[in-house]
Symmetry: C2
Subunit: 187 residues, 2 copies
């Protein structure tokens, strides 16, 4: 089974090392890693065209995979990296198997409350709302319900692990749990 | 042509009004709106199961649509709402037509620089990096390259509009431009 390894690791200073670590762990679990860091992108006339070329290659890689493990650890804010989220949606849309994880223990609701810094208030329509009037999802989920729902409704698992902040993008315990769950699912 | 209307409007205090406005504009453009606000969700024993039920209905709605217009206006941070991003990825994965827009004029790179509050520094590997070491995408795009790439490589357009902050989630100029582009594409 080929597994697409989605996550914000490509942005790390030690991206190659971290991607290689995940690739090795995937092989050790008896699965075949498809990693977006394994790219040779040809030069393009503009930055925009280069970005499009990366998108094309990544989608081809996803199409070649049977499953995805998405790292939904919050990235530059309270929510998952949008590139990774697109990839999770893409694979669910294609009917592939999906697992995901976060290295932050606080759930989507707790992180949104922390974002506002004040407790939400229940409005006349029964919704909990922040000071800007926007309602908060409180579904005991890692991220927006479309993400958790997309994974769980396809038989996957959202794994949550609370690691020290310094290991937020490098700790692989939750990723390894996804690998184990996925490998066991095969048999 | 049926168009799924994805965006964070469902969180607004005046969600119903804003969704109805987008539905009316879609009909006026000669297209058939499929709106995630048009839901009747049965009660469930737990909040989690309720969230899963919403996910299931939204995916059914997406499957019934031929195209998506995704509102990628930054939401509670510098990036698009993750639920909307999942839906964009899902529809691209299913080979549907995709258009998207943002009501914030600053592109992904400018918003990421603003998030750090300091200019990025070019590291030895040639990447621009923030003070936390994470690299910045600078591809002249609205959001992560997978989003812009997913839309543009399918013949869609990413429309950017810079509206006053008070109108960030209610201004429909960019949405209407997407409708016009999509309606003209039909003929």
């Amino acid at each position: 089974m080929k597994v697409y390894l989605a996550g914000p690791e490509v942005f790390l200073p030690n991206a190659r090392e971290q991607l290689d670590k995940k690739i090795a762990l995937t092989r050790a679990a008896g699965l075949i890693p498809i990693s977006p860091g394994d790219l040779a992108i040809p030069q393009k006339p503009t930055r925009h065209e280069f970005g499009l070329a990366v998108s094309e290659i990544d989608e081809h890689l996803m199409n070649s995979a049977d499953a995805i493990i998405a790292n939904l650890t919050p990235f530059r804010g309270i929510a998952a990296d949008t590139g990774t989220v697109y990839e999770l949606g893409f694979m669910c849309g294609r009917g592939k198997i999906a697992y995901a994880y976060s290295n932050v223990g606080a759930d989507h609701y707790a992180r949104t409350v922390a974002y506002y810094g004040v407790e939400p208030v229940r409005s006349a329509d029964g919704r909990l709302r922040g000071p800007d009037g926007l309602s908060l999802e409180d579904f005991d989920m890692i991220d927006n319900l479309m993400l958790d729902g997309g994974v769980e409704r396809r038989g996957g698992v959202m794994v949550r692990c609370d690691v020290p902040e310094a290991e937020r993008y490098t700790n692989t315990e939750a990723f390894e749990e996804c690998l184990t769950l996925l490998a066991n699912r095969r048999s």
